[in-house]
């Protein structure tokens, strides 16, 4: 039934949807409206709360087909491992589950145990930034819907910039950013090494590198599903990253290697790092992990661009909610419809910002007053204006079966060699490709 449906064209599946809607509607009237139980696994508690809130909304809008959504929050690693094992064994999986972007492809190897969502997504396709579906697509089917766009933005500490005589609003190109960085980076205690850096780059996580690779037009996979690690764009992006640290001397490796380490948060709080680029959702770290310590100096600005007319930003991270094939077949359509309702409707996208603080995938909500609110954590500015301003030309991110392995290589050896050992970018990427081939990946060139 699932396969059949996937092969049908959009129109027929819409028909089918309507037919099923009527059928379920009729059925539920006779069945005295028992709420349908749906189980969900998440690894971030807020996601679970959000979905429960959406379930309440659903029940108000569809009193004839109520659902009873229960969620379990499980640790990130454990949740994915458990889900994988449960799908392998054929029992024990929930109806719905969150799958993180780096983990999704793991589930596409071998038999796929998720339900295609096209029929539920199609009605909204025109309203959303569609490339956001790409990371959760396999074999032409959409299997997951994200919580956010995750567009990259630049976070600045204006106090440090002002002290160095830099106006944050002039940093629209990477050239300007590098020049400003040279003024900002300073050895304040005179011991021969800088104490304040313009920025920091991750050596054990992917965000710093992937953003530049994608904005230069590179990335891990192209739209045709081919691995493009050794592309000139990637080489240039990694060269730029390495230059920030070694040639220009304006960046340091993030403390403990990544932008979520407590040491790195301390660096930001203590004013040792003047700026960094991370996805929009990193905004929530300012109150959550830094105790709003930078409320009087932190602002959000669009990413600098490499060239006029080039990509203005790209997307980073993400979590797609999927429906597993262990769901009771009678619930599939309701679950699909609810999932689209919870993530893709106008109201849902407004709550993505108001409840979760995430940038929504629907562009038509960007003017909504609920999004344009001033925030105390960012000097009382309206951050969303700047987030939206950066969305002119979003570089898409494509993924494929070896996306998780590529991320692992970047997180473990590639970026470490690039930044700490100053290995040439071409060599780093060649080594990565060689390793992927040994793991059975087909890489052209």
């Amino acid at each position: 039934m699932i396969l059949m449906e996937a092969e049908m064209n959009k129109r027929t599946s819409l028909f089918l949807l309507v037919a099923i809607l009527i059928a379920t509607f009729g059925a539920s009237v006779t069945q005295a409206q028992d709420a349908t139980d749906l189980s969900l696994w998440v690894f971030v508690d807020r996601h679970g709360l959000f979905m429960q809130h959406q379930a309440e909304r659903w029940n108000e809008a569809n009193p004839d087909r109520p659902i009873n959504l229960t969620y379990e929050q499980i640790d990130y690693t454990q949740m994915h491992d458990n889900l994988l094992s449960a799908l392998l064994v054929g029992i024990g999986a929930p109806d719905l589950a969150d799958v993180e972007i780096k983990k999704f492809a793991t589930f596409t190897k071998g038999d796929l145990h998720f339900i295609p969502l096209e029929s539920a997504i199609d009605p909204y396709r025109g309203d959303i930034i569609e490339s956001r579906l790409a990371p959760y697509t396999a074999g032409g089917h959409n299997y997951g819907i994200d919580y956010h766009l995750g567009s990259f933005v630049m976070y600045y500490n204006t106090a440090i910039l002002e002290a160095a005589g830099v106006d944050v609003n002039t940093l629209t190109t990477w050239d300007a950013y590098v020049e400003a960085g040279k003024k900002v980076t300073q050895d304040t205690d005179g011991d021969g090494s800088a104490d304040v850096y313009m920025t920091s780059v991750e050596t054990t996580d992917i965000f710093s590198a992937y953003a530049l690779m994608l904005m230069m037009g590179g990335g891990t996979y192209n739209a045709d599903g081919e691995i493009i690690l050794e592309s000139p764009e990637n080489v240039a992006a990694l060269q730029f990253l390495q230059d920030l640290v070694h040639t220009h001397g304006i960046a340091r490796a993030a403390s403990s290697g990544y932008h979520h380490s407590p040491e790195h948060f301390t660096d930001l709080i203590e004013g040792r790092t003047a700026s960094l680029w991370m996805p929009q959702w990193y905004m929530t770290r300012f109150p959550d992990d830094m105790g709003s310590a930078l409320a009087d100096s932190a602002v959000v600005r669009p990413m600098p661009v490499f060239e006029e007319g080039g990509y203005t930003t790209t997307m980073g991270g993400g979590t797609g909610t999927v429906i597993t094939d262990q769901i009771d077949p009678a619930k599939v359509d309701l679950a699909k419809e609810f999932l689209a309702f919870a993530k893709l409707t106008y109201e849902a996208n407004v709550s993505l910002w108001t409840d979760l603080g995430f940038d929504p995938m629907r562009t038509d909500v960007y003017e909504d007053p609920a999004l344009l609110i001033a925030m105390d954590d960012f000097m009382g500015e309206v951050p969303f204006t700047y987030i939206a301003a950066g969305l002119g030309n979003v570089a898409p991110e494509y993924t494929g079966p070896f996306y998780p392995e590529i991320a692992t290589i970047f997180q473990t050896t590639a970026l470490y060699d690039l930044i700490e050992n100053q290995a040439p970018p071409a060599d780093v990427l060649a080594a990565a490709v060689e390793e992927l081939r040994a793991m059975g990946a087909e890489v052209g060139g």
Partner: protein, 299 residues
């Protein structure tokens, strides 16, 4: 009717099996069976309960093609050797000193040195994860006392192994002291007295009496260290946030097996790695047993 059952159950031939039944049931179901499944899996392309295909030795060939496998094997071997080099001589010497009668309240010290062994590995890993940070206690202490510039323990590949050995030393020294201590108290003191009368000095006593007589204990500790060292997982997992450390310098075999299974979804290769790891541990232990002459005795 009850009588025959009773007689059978009390039969000398049957009794041992009745006593063995509970242990063996659990042992066979939860140890032997999974081992067999894992070994079978290592010859398969395992994609789930419903889909497996026989691939012969392919998984084993793949394993040796992987750069990471060689790296993990080297790391783990270096870690095991490193822990052996520290955790055999150091506790041995400390145990001898504590047993020499020249330390006041030696039991108190044995107890204090043993306390780390009571903490879980997660707690141990977390404490050191924090203490080894660039602005963490250890760096600040080294700077204040020895004037050493802050070391990037958690961020530099060359410091990964030393960091993990520091952690292991803290966690295991006390317990190894206890093991050695138990061997020491079983050495008949007349031997020392006789040798002292013959004019042997402290080092000669140690070399010709203490060391040889501690052989069984040393064997036990060495084998435990090899088994533990090759299976190391939780410490790097916690200290390096679930990763293999800078440049995968702390990638252990167990971490790689875990990553291969759950990130790369390659259960066959993961199982093959597990079998190889088991073989390595087994061979090393066997060599130890031979070396220490265990197989000569049987009660």
């Amino acid at each position: 009717m009850l009588k025959p059952v009773y007689t059978i159950l009390n039969n000398k031939k049957v009794v041992p099996f009745v006593f063995l039944l509970p242990f063996m049931t659990v042992f066979l179901i939860f140890k032997v069976y999974p081992v067999i499944t894992a070994v079978i899996m290592s010859f398969q392309n395992f994609q789930g309960i419903q889909s497996q295909e026989w691939v012969g030795l392919t998984n084993y060939q793949n394993v040796f093609d992987l750069v990471r496998f060689n790296q993990a094997l080297t790391n783990t071997t270096a870690y095991t050797l490193g822990t052996l080099l520290v955790l055999i001589p150091l506790p041995l010497i400390l145990a001898v000193l504590l047993d020499s009668g020249r330390v006041v309240q030696s039991t108190v010290f044995r107890t204090l040195l043993f306390l780390p062994a009571l903490t879980s590995l997660v707690v141990t890993g977390t404490i050191f994860r924090l203490m080894l940070a660039e602005n963490g206690f250890i760096n600040l202490f080294l700077e204040a006392t020895l004037g050493v510039r802050p070391l990037r323990w958690l961020e530099i590949a060359d410091l990964a192994l030393p960091s993990l050995i520091v952690v292991a030393t803290w966690r295991w020294t006390g317990i190894n002291i206890l093991y050695f201590n138990s061997g020491l108290v079983n050495i008949p003191r007349e031997l020392y007295e006789a040798a002292t009368i013959d004019g042997a000095n402290v080092f000669q006593l140690f070399w010709s009496i203490t060391l040889p007589l501690l052989r069984p204990t040393t064997l036990f500790v060495v084998v435990l260290s090899i088994i533990g060292g090759y299976q190391v997982f939780v410490e790097p997992f916690i200290v390096y946030n679930g990763g293999g450390g800078p440049g995968d310098s702390a990638l252990s075999m167990a971490l790689l097996i875990y990553r291969t299974a759950f990130t790369s979804f390659n259960f066959g290769t993961a199982a093959a790695m597990g079998v190889i790891l088991a073989a390595i541990i087994f061979v090393f232990s066997l060599i130890q047993f031979r070396f220490f002459g265990v197989f000569r005795q049987e009660d």
